[in-house]
Symmetry: C2
Subunit: 148 residues, 2 copies
C-alpha cells in the first residue's frame, strides 16, 4: 500500500513545465467560484498541516515555482504561503483526487503552518471535558511571524 507519507516510484517532475501544467489544470474541476480545496501534508511525518483554496492561477504558480500558492477568498487574490511570515511550503508532490476537485500537496514546511503559531491548523478536538480543547501548543509567537 502506498501511504500518504511515502513517495511512490517514479520521479515527480516538479516544478512542472508549461505543457504539463496545462494538462494538469485542464483536467481539474474548479467549482462555481473557480476554486478547488487543497490539503497540505508534511511529506515525511504525514502530518496534515492545513486546508486552503486554490484557483487556476494558484495551481499554475505552485506547479511552476515549486512552492505552494493559494487563493484568498477574503482578499480575492492569489497568495504565496509564507510570503509574509517566511513559513513557506516547498512542493514535493501534487496529487489530484478522483473527482478532480481536491488537491493533496506533499510539502516540506518551513517552520509552522498555522497563522496562530502552531505547527498545523487542526489543533482543536473534543476531549473528555466536552466541547473542543486545544491539543497543540503555540510554537512561534504570531507577532513574530507577521511583525504585528
Amino acid at each position: 500500500m502506498t501511504t500518504a507519507s511515502t513517495l511512490p516510484a517514479g520521479a515527480p517532475a516538479l516544478p512542472a513545465d508549461t505543457k504539463a501544467i496545462a494538462e494538469i489544470v485542464g483536467g481539474m474541476a474548479f467549482d462555481a467560484n473557480g476554486l478547488v480545496a487543497a490539503i497540505a501534508q508534511q511529506v515525511e511525518s504525514g502530518e496534515v498541516l492545513m486546508l486552503a483554496w486554490m484557483n487556476r492561477e494558484a495551481v499554475e504558480t505552485t506547479l511552476r515555482t515549486g512552492y505552494a500558492h493559494y487563493y484568498s477568498r477574503s482578499r480575492q487574490k492569489q497568495w504565496k504561503k509564507g510570503e509574509s511570515s517566511g513559513q513557506v511550503q516547498k512542493l514535493v508532490d501534487f496529487r489530484l483526487d478522483c473527482d478532480g476537485d481536491a488537491v493533496l500537496m506533499l510539502v516540506e514546511q518551513t517552520g509552522v503552518a498555522c497563522h496562530t503559531g502552531r505547527h498545523n491548523c487542526f489543533f482543536r478536538a473534543p476531549r473528555a471535558l466536552g466541547g473542543l480543547t486545544e491539543i497543540a501548543k503555540v510554537e512561534v509567537d504570531p507577532r513574530k511571524l507577521y511583525g504585528g
Copy 2:
C-alpha cells in the same frame, strides 16, 4: 511535535454526547451553502484518504454515531460513508482548524476509501512523462463495491 498520525494525550470522547456536539457545531464556520470541507486520514499510517463535505447534520451524526457521514452536493443529502459499499470509516478523532471551516477526521478505514476501488482518492500525480499519471492501483473492483 504532534504528528497527524498520533493521538495526543487525553482520551477522545467519541462518540460525543449531545451537549458536546452542540458546543462543537456551534463553534464551526459553515459556508454560504452550509458546508465545511472534511479530510479523512487513516489514523495509523497518516494516509490522506479523501476530501468531502459536511453540513451541520453530517457533523452531528458523525459525532453521535462514531462513523463518518458527509453531505452529497449532487444528491443534496447526508450520506454515511460506506452505506452502499460497506467501506465505512470509524471515527477516532475529530479536529477543527483555526478558522472553524475545515475538519480533519482520523479514521479507521474499512477496505478502500475511493469509489474507484483505490485505497485513497489522490491517485493522480505529475510524473516524468508530463500531465497526470495514475500512481495507485485498483484494489477492489468498483462493481463489487456497488453491485453495479
